[in-house]
Each structure stands twice: as C-alpha cells, then as structure tokens.
C-alpha cells in the first residue's frame, strides 16, 4: 500500500494539479477581499459573513468541479499512455490501486480546503479580525465540506476509471454542478444531490441563509453523505475489480 502511494506520488508530483489547487481559494479570496465590509468602520471583522460569502462561490461551484477534475486527473495518465495495463500487471491488487487513487483525490480536496481556510484567515487578520477568530465555525465548515466531497469523489472516480476520455467525466460533472444554485433551494431534493452537498455542509447557519436546504440539520446531511459515499465507493470498486483492461 505504501509502495503504491509512493509510486502514485511520483506520477502526480510533476503534473499540472498544483496550479489547479490555487484556483478556487484564489478566486474566493478576491471575493472576500473586496466583498466584505465591516458593519461599522473599525468594528470587528465579520468572520461568518466572510465565510458565507466565500463559500457561496467556492463550495457551490469550484469545490465540486475540482473534485471531478482531481478524479479525472489521477486516472488520466493511466488512460493516456496505457498505464492501467502496466500498473495492473505488476504485483498489486486492484482494490489497493482503487483505494490509493481515491485517497489521492480526497487528499487533494483536503489541500484545497486548507488553502481556502488559509486565504480566509489571511484576509480576516489583514482586516483586523485577528483577535476573535471563530475557530470552531471555520474549521467545522472546512471539515464538513471535505466530508461532503466523499460521495462526489467516489462517484467521479468511478466514472473516470470507466471512461478512457478525460473530458467526458468532466462534462458530466459540469452539467450536474451548474444546477447547484437551483437545487440548493429545495429542501426535498438537495440533500440527495451529491454535487450540492459541499455547499450545504460548508455554509454557516443563521446568516440570512435560512431558506431551502440550508436549514437542514447537519446530522441528516451527514447520514445521507455517508450512506451515498458507501454506495458509490463500493459500486466503483466492484466495477474496477472486474474491469477487463
């Protein structure tokens, strides 16, 4: 397992992935920088408003998109140069290969989340909010956002291993991510929609976002997320284990 991780690391180390990591935190940072105003000049920095504002872009659009991109990227160099058949004719089990690929996708999502948090902290401190950082809300939001990406990552990894095209899984991902802004308004459908789950999970409560699916108790969301993650992951793994390469 460790050997596989080290081998995978070598493939990913020299790829374009690192530039992508910066995209979403960067854009969200711009919004935070120019969009957040103190309630009264010289007053405390409104951390939760900044979080809500930046999350609206990051978690609604970029996080689900990037999760799909990461899943496609860790499969791309295998599809492109016939890597699957070389990798799978080495002494490795398919289960481990699949798990390691998934770990890398979630690792990259984690890095994205940490960068997002870093950007938010940077802006807040620069604007004089350094004294009263609401750590539990911020860390909770970033952590829940990561968890909410689990089913999406599992789904996208399954699609990316199945299709040798790089663009097709991404197209699917975009098509399902765009309706997020509509789906989020529906308390009935949103919890079961993997692409909107990161947004629901990351958005801080009681900040004016108390409509649609934003009022759902987090426990409900968590159980749906975990349940669908297990289903998607097992489905993708079962397919990959039987796939003829």
């Amino acid at each position: 397992m460790l050997a596989l991780i080290r081998s995978e690391w070598l493939k990913i180390r020299r790829s374009v992935i690192w530039l992508l990591l910066l995209v979403s935190p960067g854009l969200a940072g711009l919004i935070g920088l120019f969009g957040v105003r103190e309630e009264q000049p010289g007053g405390p920095f409104p951390w939760l408003i900044a979080l809500a504002l930046m999350t609206a872009l990051h978690a609604m659009l970029f996080l689900p998109l990037l999760t799909g991109v990461y899943a496609a990227l860790v499969c791309r160099y295998e599809h492109a140069g016939g890597g699957w058949k070389q990798l799978l004719s080495l002494p490795v089990t398919r289960t481990r290969v699949y798990i390691v690929k998934f770990l890398f996708v979630m690792g990259l999502v984690a890095l994205t989340q940490l960068l997002f948090l870093a950007v938010l902290l940077l802006i807040g401190t620069a604007k004089g909010g350094g004294g009263a950082i609401p750590w539990s809300e911020l860390l909770g939001s970033v952590g829940r956002g990561w968890l909410a990406c689990l089913p999406l990552a599992a789904l996208q990894l399954a699609v990316s291993t199945a299709w040798s095209s790089f663009a097709a899984p991404l197209a699917v991902n975009v098509v399902f991510t765009i309706p997020n802004m509509l789906v989020a308004n529906s308390a009935d459908y949103a919890p079961y929609y993997p692409w909107v789950q990161p947004l629901l999970a990351m958005m801080p409560h009681q900040n004016g976002y108390d409509f649609g699916a934003f009022t759902l108790p987090s426990l409900t969301l968590l159980s749906v997320v975990m349940g669908s993650f297990v289903v998607f992951f097992l489905g993708g793994w079962a397919y990959f284990a039987r796939k003829a390469v």
């Binding site: 596989l4 493939k11 016939g82 890597g83 799978l88 004719s89 080495l90 003829a244």
Partner: protein
C-alpha cells in the same frame, strides 16, 4: 511438478457470445523462446491479457511457475515482466521517473534502473520527458520496464511493432541473448513468422482462437521440405512408366513431382525418362517457405 513454466488448460474467453480464445492449451518450457504466432485478431493479445490477469478467462486455468494464477497472482506477477500491445508510459515523466514508478512497486534496488536503461540504450535520453520519444524509444522503454524486476518469465506482445529494421534487429538480438545470459523464459507474440523464425525455439500457432500447431521450430521446418518438379513432354505417360519402374513420383494432373529424395534417385528418374524418349524440359527444386506453411495452416487468411 511438471516441466512447464507456463501452462494453460482449456483456456477460453467469450466476448459478446463469440469465442475469441477457444480451448487453448499453451505449454512453455523453462528457457524457451516461445513464438506465439497468429494472424491479426486470432486471439493472441486476449490470451496474453489473461496470462497477466488483466482479463478473466471464461473457462480454463492458467499455471505459471507451477502455481495457479487465480490463487497466487501477486507472487507470480512479481516474477513476470510484460509488454502488452503498445508500450505503456507516463508522458509527463522522464524515463528514469517512469521506471521509478514501477520500481517502487517491485521493490528492486535503484541501480536496476540504470542497468535496464543501459540494456535498451536509453541512458542518453533518460532525462527527457517520454512524450517526446519516438515510437521505437517508447518501445525500448517498455522493454526496459519489463526487464526491471529481473523476471523469470518475459511476456512480450508484438515487441517490434513500430520499430525500424535496425531497431528490430537490436531487439531480436536482445531477446535471443536473454535465456542464455539470465535464464529467462520468453513468450513473444507476433503476426510475422519471419520475425519469430529467427529467434524462437518453440512455436504455437493460433488462428480464430484455436491452437493449430504447437511444437519446436524444427518440427515446423520439417514441414517445409523441398520437392523436385519435373516437366516433360508427355507427363502422364512418364508418370506411369516411372511408377512401373518403382520410382517415387506423384502426378496431380498438372505437375509431375518427386518428394524429398536423394540425388541418386533423381538421377535414375532423369535417366529413365531420357531412355524412354521423353523430352525433359526442366528439373527444378521447389521450396515451400515457412511463410507458405503458416498461410496454409492458418487457412490462408494470415495478414502478413
């Protein structure tokens, strides 16, 4: 224990209701260079995929190093080097990093990388991204990858695809030297008999998923014995006369032929013909090439 290093038993693969590989019994001995021959689409690559565990057989079993592939896949694959169809590579990495991704999984010393690069003569280009390589260089990198784990069995699927004549020659020499120098057994597939003929010790010929010939290369060559063709003015009459004299001649309504016989017999046939006043136009040797035999065995549909 038996002598086969690789053995399949009734190996079959159904794809879309069609038997792509049908009841294949492949037998490869220690130290063999086994030429796995067949026209395009005969089922060679499908068979090789099954040997490597990349595809599952519909029926039948595979034993490599005397172990069942289904049960001991990992320990078998540790000692098998392979190159399937076209070379696999990570284009954004250089040759050393490409080999390193595999080395980390095989757990062989790092020095093996420079050794195998030396063997396939890629040392000079080792630091360039592989996507800039020519097909021949990628193919050589693929062979280097196959050699990396010091395998006991090398499975090479059409390894000379896309190589120029000099490259083909080079790979051929390399393959021929492997069993001698490292005790490696090699299974090499091709649709070109001429290519296999120069290195294989044993051949298996497959067509439409079925094994139709499997023996030593000498056994195949024996089928290619020369015949003597004689053209005379009145062939049928000549045939009767020669048969009456007890000389071994065949007549198939168009040609008078003699199987592989001594010079002495040929001389007495000619003498008899001349004595009986037949005009002898030609006495010529006709060689059936291995190529012809291959075509004949595979039902003439070999794309050569």
């Amino acid at each position: 224990m038996n002598e086969w290093i690789l053995e399949t038993n009734g190996l079959s693969k159904q794809l879309g209701g069609r038997a792509v590989v049908n009841q294949l019994n492949l037998q490869v001995k220690q130290g063999d260079i086994y030429g796995f021959l067949g026209p395009n689409g005969a089922g060679k690559t499908t068979t090789i995929r099954m040997l490597l565990g990349l595809a599952k057989p519909s029926v039948g079993s595979i034993r490599i190093f005397g172990k069942d592939l289904r049960k001991e896949r990992l320990s078998i694959l540790r000692k098998v080097g392979s190159l399937v169809e076209y070379p696999s590579y990570y284009g954004h990495l250089n040759a050393i990093d490409n080999l390193e991704t595999v080395r980390r999984l095989l757990d062989v010393p790092r020095s093996r990388i420079s050794e195998v690069l030396e063997i396939v003569r890629l040392t000079k280009d080792a630091k360039r991204a592989v996507k800039g390589y020519s097909l021949g260089m990628k193919q050589r990198l693929g062979i280097a990858t196959a050699l990396l784990g010091q395998p006991d069995l090398l499975i090479l699927d059409e390894p000379t695809n896309g190589l120029d004549p000099a490259g083909i020659q080079e790979i051929r020499e390399l393959i021929k030297s492997m069993p001698r120098e490292h005790g490696v057994t090699i299974l090499i597939s091709s649709h070109l008999l001429a290519e296999i003929e120069q290195m294989a010790t044993r051949v298996g010929i497959i067509t439409k998923g079925q094994m139709i010939f499997q023996d030593s290369i000498e056994a195949l060559r024996r089928q290619a014995k020369p015949t003597i063709r004689i053209s005379v003015s009145r062939p049928e009459e000549a045939w009767r006369m020669l048969l009456a004299k007890g000389l071994p001649v065949d007549w198939d309504q168009t040609r008078l032929t003699v199987g592989e016989v001594s010079d002495r017999t040929v001389a007495s046939i000619v003498a008899a013909l001349v004595q009986q006043d037949h005009d002898v136009y030609r006495v010529e040797e006709e060689r059936v090439s291995l190529e012809d035999i291959f075509l004949e065995i595979t039902g003439g549909e070999g794309s050569l």
